[in-house]
């Protein structure tokens, strides 16, 4: 048989790869105020889809707050708030399925990067994401005056037919790294703050380097409450949840 001409997917991650950036969500501190959701939408130019499209399940959020009811009515109990964003998997299910390599692993930042100018909108990545972290632009949502003035110039404004997702605010990471380099130093712990972390009033979200054992994130990850979402799938998520409730 002739050799296949389809390129073999070969990401360079390994089981030992520790990752670079990580996020810790303390569910005991989270009050479910949705400040992170709002801050994320503002920072990353996420459009408001409106009532009708939201009813079709086309609401666009890069971060959402989940809450479930446990038990049978009337003995129901609400689980603590759980902020779910892209888990920036070390072994991401969304990456090998993209036919145009728009969903790629950034070797430099150890993040899952969505390249908007490559994306053709097959939505395969979203179907393969176990965390339902990806959102699709079903339309070109207009921003009537003066709403266009709030657009963040550091982030691409996505158009219709493009898949998008949380990037750990890579524009802020790059900006901070650039500033640190121009001053001839390393990025110090807590200098990079994604919009959700910056907005959280309860400091339930902490961001930093997980390959540095002295960082605030690494220290919080040592907690006995630490769990990762759907870890059994082998996705190697970079977001750690500190289990709340009880």
């Amino acid at each position: 048989m002739a050799e296949s001409k389809i390129p073999v997917f070969s990401a360079k991650w390994s089981e030992e790869e520790k990752g670079k950036w990580g996020l810790v969500v303390d569910q005991d501190l989270c009050t479910g105020c949705q400040a992170c959701v709002t801050a994320c939408a503002m920072e990353n130019n996420i459009p408001f889809v409106g009532e009708e499209d939201a009813a079709y399940g086309r609401a666009m959020h890069w971060i959402r707050l989940e809450r479930f009811w446990e038990g049978e009515y009337p003995q129901v109990k609400a689980t603590p708030f759980q902020a779910v964003m892209c888990q920036q998997c070390g072994s991401a299910p969304c990456e090998p399925v993209c036919p145009v390599f728009a969903s790629v692993h950034s070797q430099n930042e150890q993040l899952n990067i969505q390249v908007y100018n490559r994306c053709v909108g097959t939505r395969y990545c979203a179907n393969n994401c176990p965390y339902v972290a990806r959102t699709f632009n079903w339309r070109d949502y207009d921003r009537p005056e003066p709403l266009n003035n709030q657009l963040n110039p550091d982030v691409t404004v996505r158009r219709r037919g493009i898949m998008e997702k949380c990037t750990f605010c890579v524009q802020r990471i790059r900006k901070t790294e650039d500033a640190a380099k121009s001053e001839g130093r390393d990025v110090y712990d807590g200098e990079v703050e994604p919009a959700c972390v910056q907005a959280c009033p309860a400091e339930a979200l902490v961001f930093g380097r997980i390959d540095d054992p002295e960082s605030a994130v690494s220290k919080r990850m040592q907690s006995g409450r630490a769990v990762k979402l759907l870890e059994e799938l082998g996705t190697q998520p970079r977001v750690t949840y500190l289990k709340g409730g009880d």
Partner: protein
């Protein structure tokens, strides 16, 4: 039978029409028009945009003004920036300013209105170019912008695309694996 004859007659007539010089010249002219229209369309994309002042780069560079004197942003931030009328006036207030283009500057200064310069070297919205690391890395302005010192009004350069960027990034990285990863990472320029 009759229909067949009619058909043949029609074919014959069409053939005669094609052979007529008027028809041949007409189609020739039509194609010429289409090609020239397409050519004009391509040509317009390569033209420098109209500027409020026909600023003469070669004279200023010839007088020894550094690029970074008027575009100091390239030194420390993403955008190189375009000079304000105040910056121009710093030197020009000591001159006669008799030429018509200099008179335009005087008008802008007197009415204290900003000069609406039109950026020439523009990248698409999904490209986040940063001047600072390029200047810090020792890249000269003319490496990307061409011989601006020989131009009067700045002109764009064709073919400033991603392959062109990556060619230079790959050569710069050389055998340094870590540098290559950093310089060819998608998130370096797209976010």
């Amino acid at each position: 039978m009759l229909e067949r004859i009619k058909k043949l007659n029609l074919l014959e007539k069409a053939r005669e029409l094609v052979r007529k010089p008027v028809f041949l010249i007409g189609t020739g002219l039509l194609f010429l028009l289409l090609f020239s229209a397409a050519g004009y369309g391509v040509w317009t994309t390569q033209q420098p945009p109209p500027q409020p002042i026909q600023f003469n780069h070669s004279v200023h560079v010839g007088l020894g003004v550094q690029c970074l004197y008027c575009h100091p942003g390239a030194w420390r931030q993403a955008s190189a920036g375009l000079p304000t009328s105040g910056k121009c006036w710093g030197c020009h207030q000591q001159m006669a300013n008799t030429k018509p283009e200099q008179q335009k500057l005087v008008e802008y200064v007197n009415s204290s209105e900003p000069i609406p310069w039109v950026p020439v070297f523009i990248q698409p919205d999904f490209v986040y170019f940063n001047h600072r690391p390029h200047i810090a890395g020792g890249v000269n302005c003319e490496t990307c912008h061409g011989e601006i010192s020989r131009l009067t009004v700045a002109e764009p350069i064709a073919g400033q695309n991603m392959g062109w960027c990556l060619d230079c990034h790959r050569t710069t990285a050389g055998d340094d694996e870590e540098k290559l990863i950093r310089l060819t990472d998608c998130s370096t320029c797209h976010r």
